[in-house]
């Protein structure tokens, strides 16, 4: 994260804490009470030894056992309520953040975040949750502090010099051990990365297994995986060595510290300054106190993780919209529905283009980048400052239209058709009548998708329509666009996965659905069947219009055109 990102991380974190303050407050109180009770368990063991076991006093035993039972009751229910509330705060906040991110990621005006889809996805999937962990970190930190305070008081009550020694000694030991942590973190990060790479490689190779088999490359693939696996093993072992070293050092240092405390406390007990119970309590506390101190160290890491995630969340939530819609309503339908004048954008180098009412215009782009630039521009995904020339819809400059007016007038159906989880009907547009949908499906040559399945329009589609073939998806996308019946429709290569016979049907269908005023239609394609159905054809090359005319005229006169479309 850049330095500029940090204040945003802070504001996201503050907002998380503010929104959940009630839950957090109560949860912290309970968690503190839980940790205090945990700290008192060794003290209570000392009390039972001192008052009951050493004296053989039955009444004292019953009383001190009742005390232990009470302590456990407090301990257990404090955790029960504190942990539940804290967890609820984290979960609710992650949910909140996730929905907010989804809303921003799908902002109708687009998002100027510079993030790729994969990054956005990982931000909703993991960062939304991790940024909320600040709640857990806050709760745990408060509870650990309480445990420390309670232990400190108990120790100081027993013996001041001994208490001070423990209270200074434990944090020194714990923090000294944590100085080794960066080495450990670095190695375990390297390890996680190597393992993740290995897993990803396995998934990738097996997903492409048919491709590998097609060229007999399974052996090479297996050897590549074995090499990655061996590398991961090496990294893992190095990490395991330093983890082992850290563990051993922790064990030794804690033990040496315990030996010192036990020796000193034993000496004090011999001199009568401590009872046996107090000796037990001091030793127990000296062991226990390392836990909250270690927890505090861990909280620092947790805070750092949460903050880094909050920064990434902020990148989405605080990103500017890509385009700024205007305030003009849609113009009255005119004879020229769509007009581009001297448009320069991306590959486009001064393109002028008209689509009239009742007209189907074919567009052939020799260079696919010309078509892509045109589609991006007409989709309303280009800020006004990024292109030159004018795009007018019914005489109104496109950038001055409101969001609804713009989207309500021009519809672009992409070449790479995106379908969604749901039913066939929900993908085609749930608000249309059955008749309208059936007509659209027929025009798109997609009736087979309907007929092939007993559920008809209610047929379930999985995410991305993966249970349809590529050709079926393409035709459903076309049917969806035709059913929407927008004033101006832009289709990009709508029949590339469609067989020759069906392509002819689709050409007729598009003519029937779009061939009359007031509709205006632009079809970017090199399919002769579709181009023949168009009223006229515009040819783009090198970002410029190089030819115009009917398909037959162009095919007869222009050799380049013939080569491009008459396959």
């Amino acid at each position: 994260m850049t330095a500029a990102g940090e204040p945003s991380a802070g504001s996201v974190t503050r907002r998380i804490l503010r929104r959940q303050r009630a839950r957090i407050g109560v949860s912290v109180v309970f968690l503190c009470s839980h940790q205090a009770a945990e700290a008192l368990v060794p003290v209570m063991i000392g009390v039972v030894i001192d008052r009951a076991v050493a004296t053989s006093d039955t009444r004292a035993l019953l009383i001190s056992l009742a005390g232990l039972a009470l302590l456990f009751t407090v301990l257990t229910f404090s955790y029960f309520f504190g942990a539940r509330l804290g967890y609820a705060a984290v979960e609710n906040e992650s949910h909140h953040t996730r929905v907010e991110i989804a809303g921003r990621a799908l902002d109708p005006r687009g998002l100027r975040s510079g993030l790729r889809d994969g990054e956005l996805l990982s931000i909703t999937a993991s960062d939304a949750e991790l940024s909320s962990l600040v709640i857990r970190a806050a709760g745990i930190a408060a509870a650990a502090t309480t445990a420390l305070v309670v232990s400190a008081i108990a120790l100081l009550v027993v013996d001041v010099p001994l208490g001070l020694g423990v209270l200074i000694g434990v944090p020194v030991v714990v923090f000294a051990l944590q100085r080794l942590a960066p080495l450990l973190t670095r190695r375990s990060e390297a390890q996680q990365e190597a393992l993740a790479t290995t897993t990803a490689l396995a998934v990738d190779l097996v997903s492409g297994l048919r491709v590998l088999r097609g060229i007999g490359a399974q052996d090479h693939a297996a050897r590549r995986y074995a090499a990655a696996s061996a590398h991961a093993l090496g990294v893992t072992l190095r990490a395991a060595n330093s983890k082992g070293l850290h563990l051993g050092l922790t064990t030794a240092v804690n033990g040496l510290f315990l030996a010192t405390v036990a020796g000193f406390a034993g000496w004090l007990a011999l001199r009568g300054r401590l009872s046996v119970g107090e000796l037990v309590a001091v030793v127990g506390l000296a062991q226990f106190i390392a836990e909250p101190v270690g927890t505090l160290g861990w909280c620092v890491q947790l805070f750092a993780t949460a903050k880094a995630s909050a920064g990434r969340v902020a990148r989405v939530l605080e990103a500017e919209p890509l385009v700024t819609p205007g305030s003009a309503g849609a113009g009255k339908a005119t004879d020229t529905r769509l007009a581009l004048d001297e448009v320069r954008y991306g590959n486009l180098d001064g393109v002028s283009l008209r689509v009239g009412a009742g007209e189907i215009v074919g567009l052939v782009a020799y260079d696919p980048r010309d078509a892509d630039a045109l589609v991006t521009l007409l989709s309303g995904r280009v800020p006004r400052d990024d292109y030159h020339g004018t795009v007018r819809v019914d005489g109104v400059a496109a950038e001055t239209l409101t969001l609804d007016a713009g989207r309500g007038t021009v519809l672009v159906e992409q070449h790479d058709v995106a379908l969604f989880e749901g039913t066939l009907r929900s993908n085609l547009g749930a608000s249309h009548s059955d008749d309208a949908l059936l007509t659209a499906l027929r025009s798109a040559g997609a009736e087979d998708v309907l007929d092939a399945h007993p559920d008809g329009l209610e047929r379930e589609l999985v995410e991305r329509g993966a249970n349809l073939s590529g050709g079926q998806r393409q035709r459903i996308g076309l049917a969806r666009a035709l059913a929407a019946a927008p004033p101006i429709l832009v289709l990009h290569d709508p029949t590339t996965s469609v067989d020759a016979v069906t392509e002819g049907l689709v050409a007729d269908g598009i003519t029937a659905a779009r061939g009359a005023a007031p509709h205006g239609t632009l079809v970017i394609t090199s399919s002769p069947a579709l181009l023949r159905a168009a009223h006229r054809v515009t040819v783009l090359d090198g970002g410029r219009v190089v030819a115009e005319g009917t398909h037959d005229a162009l095919a007869a006169a222009d050799a380049r055109y013939r080569e491009a479309v008459l396959r």
Binding site: S94, T199, S207, D219, G255, G266, A418
Partner: protein, 588 residues
């Protein structure tokens, strides 16, 4: 391409254990050292509470300062020894566990990649991907992450219990009173939580799916103005996942209550037993103290084991699935003793009849012979049997009744490895392998240098976009990297074909999904990649057929027309009609 999870084997508990033990036995020195070090480390950890008990006794008895100093020194020395043993034990056991794991995952992938075609076609890749990915990850996390902790916890518990019994058998029994309480807690928890955990994974998956789907189709969502619908669906899914998480955590906290109760029962009974034994003069106050401290020390390891119990069970289930795949027979060694000599027919296929499983007949009485260097195209409507015939010719599937021969030798006799070296299939399935572009292509020929790779890419017309890539051949492509278009991915597939350099190439609808402009480039690329090879091509676009030496028109599993492009056009049959309608009525 359906996936049936039952087609790949899963090992039983006994087989899983015996495979694991066999692996450990292959590393006898390391295994023995790991066990010895771990036991010794845990044992030396027990010295401190025991010595503390003696120290209490000496305090009660009013012994001299030197005794106290001596005990302190013993605790210190034990700590140093425990530290050294712990460090060594952790390192050695990791070496053992991780080596066994690495061997297992390598074997799983090797078997997965060499799955016989017939099995793969029936089982699909879904389950295989899950095993090579998820299951390996689950087992890895278990062994690398919680494995050492669990091992340490188990040893601490066993040795602490032994320590309790050494102090006094009655103190040991008192501690054991807690065991049924712990067991009951676990037996209450597991049946409650297990179904929820499975459900939680599903809802979390559905949540990411909704998000991924909406983001993937963001342009369409915006074009149709359906943002609200999608955000609402994501919110619903997210809320469902949250509610389920809260339910699961609720169960977990109630499990926590039961664990605390068990701790109290154990600690209380040890203290009561200590009280009674001290009063009866059977043990010292120090021994009673040591017993209580011992038991207090057990809280964390027992809690750890119980709370990680379902992770361990999951790892066990994943392990069984891995062992199942790992136990498949290794790929057969290529049989090189079969002489494949020059033969008039480079490839010949005779299918008397073919059907899938119990399905209808998809091919009937089809004979196809390709002379060396000949280029034959298959044309027909979808469902005519083109792809099936191509797959039989490539040796991917065996005909129910019929056979394919390479230069006169039946493919069955050659064996899969040999067949794959001679006949390559570029199928409809396109996959760009994640990583540097050069690595993707080197899968086809590992020893290819950059010049050869560039040459192959140039032949398929990819030089233009290769130059535009940020890091050239080193550019990361595929999942998580630079996204290639469908046409570019197809060009890669063809470049791989050039590098693999087989005598026979089978192309199945390789250009179907490309955009209009890209398709023309791909036709040229396909022609370049198959130059000089005997080629069978499934023609989705008729231009591919027009360029072929010979065309076979299939209909409902039978050959209905056969000849050159010109002959078939002149005959004015089915092919002629297809060509007319496809060309928008214009003559060529």
């Amino acid at each position: 391409m359906s996936t049936n999870p039952h087609l790949l084997p899963t090992a039983g508990a006994r087989q899983t254990w015996s495979e694991l033990l066999a692996e450990f036995r292959r590393l006898p020195g390391l295994s023995a050292a790991a066990v010895a070090l771990l036991v010794a480390a845990s044992a030396s950890g027990l010295v401190a509470p025991f010595v503390l008990g003696r120290l209490v006794d000496d305090v009660v008895a009013g012994a001299g300062t030197d005794r106290i100093v001596r005990w302190a020194c013993v605790i210190g020395a034990a700590a140093v020894v425990a530290g050294v043993l712990t460090a060594a034990g952790a390192a050695v056991s990791a070496r053992l566990g991780e080596t066994v794991l690495a061997r297992l995952r390598e074997r799983v992938l090797d078997r997965a990649l060499h799955l016989p075609s017939a099995t793969l076609e029936r089982a699909g890749t879904g389950d295989l991907v899950a095993r090579a990915g998820d299951d390996v990850a689950v087992v890895t996390t278990a062994i690398t992450g919680i494995g050492p902790l669990m091992l340490g916890a188990v040893l601490t518990i066993v040795l602490t219990a032994a320590g309790l019994f050494t102090l006094d058998w009655r103190l040991g029994l008192a501690g054991l009173i807690a065991a049924p309480a712990y067991v009951l807690a676990l037996r209450w928890y597991l049946p409650q939580s297990t179904p929820y955990y499975a459900q939680e994974r599903i809802t979390t998956g559905e949540r990411s799916q909704a998000m991924a789907g909406a983001l993937h189709g963001a342009a369409t969502v915006r074009a149709y103005g359906t943002e609200d619908v999608h955000v609402a669906r994501i919110a619903d899914r997210s809320a469902a996942a949250r509610d389920l998480s809260l339910t699961v955590f609720g169960i977990f906290t109630r499990f926590g209550l039961r664990i605390n109760r068990s701790e109290f029962i154990g600690l209380g009974s040890v203290l009561v037993a200590g009280f009674l034994l001290v009063r009866a003069d059977a043990v010292t106050v120090g021994a009673a103290t040591a017993a209580a401290l011992y038991f207090h020390r057990l809280f964390n390891p027992i809690g750890l084991i119980l709370m990680e119990f379902d992770a361990v069970m999951q790892a066990g289930a994943s392990l069984a699935r891995l062992v199942g795949v790992a136990s498949l027979p290794a790929a057969a060694v290529p049989t090189n003793d079969l002489e494949v000599q020059d033969h008039e027919a480079a490839l010949s296929v005779t299918v008397r009849r073919h059907h899938y499983e119990d399905g209808p007949t998809v091919l009937e009485d089809v004979t196809l012979t390709l002379a060396a260097g000949e280029r034959v195209a298959l044309v027909g409507a979808s469902g005519a049997g083109k792809s099936t015939l191509a797959a039989i010719a490539a040796g991917i599937i065996a005909a129910s009744d019929g056979e394919a021969r390479l230069r006169g030798v039946p493919l069955n006799d050659l064996g899969e490895v040999r067949v794959r070296k001679e006949i390559a299939l570029v199928s409809q399935e396109v996959h760009v392998f994640a990583g540097p572009l050069a690595d993707d292509l080197r899968l086809a020929r590992p020893d290819a240098d950059d010049t050869e790779i560039e040459k192959a890419l140039d032949r398929v017309g990819a030089t233009g976009w290769l130059r535009a890539l940020p890091d050239g051949l080193a550019t990361h492509v595929g999942e998580g990297g630079h996204r290639l278009t469908a046409a570019q991915a197809q060009q890669l597939a063809l470049a791989r074909l050039i590098l693999a350099d087989p005598a026979v190439a089978v192309l199945d609808e390789a250009t179907a999904e490309a955009g209009s402009a890209g398709a023309r480039d791909l036709d040229r690329a396909a022609a370049a990649a198959t130059e000089g090879r005997t080629t069978l091509i499934v023609a989705h676009r008729l231009i591919q057929a027009a360029d072929a030496d010979r065309i076979l028109v299939l209909d409902h599993g039978r050959v209905v027309e056969q000849g050159t492009h010109a002959e078939l056009l002149a005959a004015g049959g089915r092919y002629g009609h297809l060509w007319q309608s496809w060309n928008g009525g214009a003559s060529s």
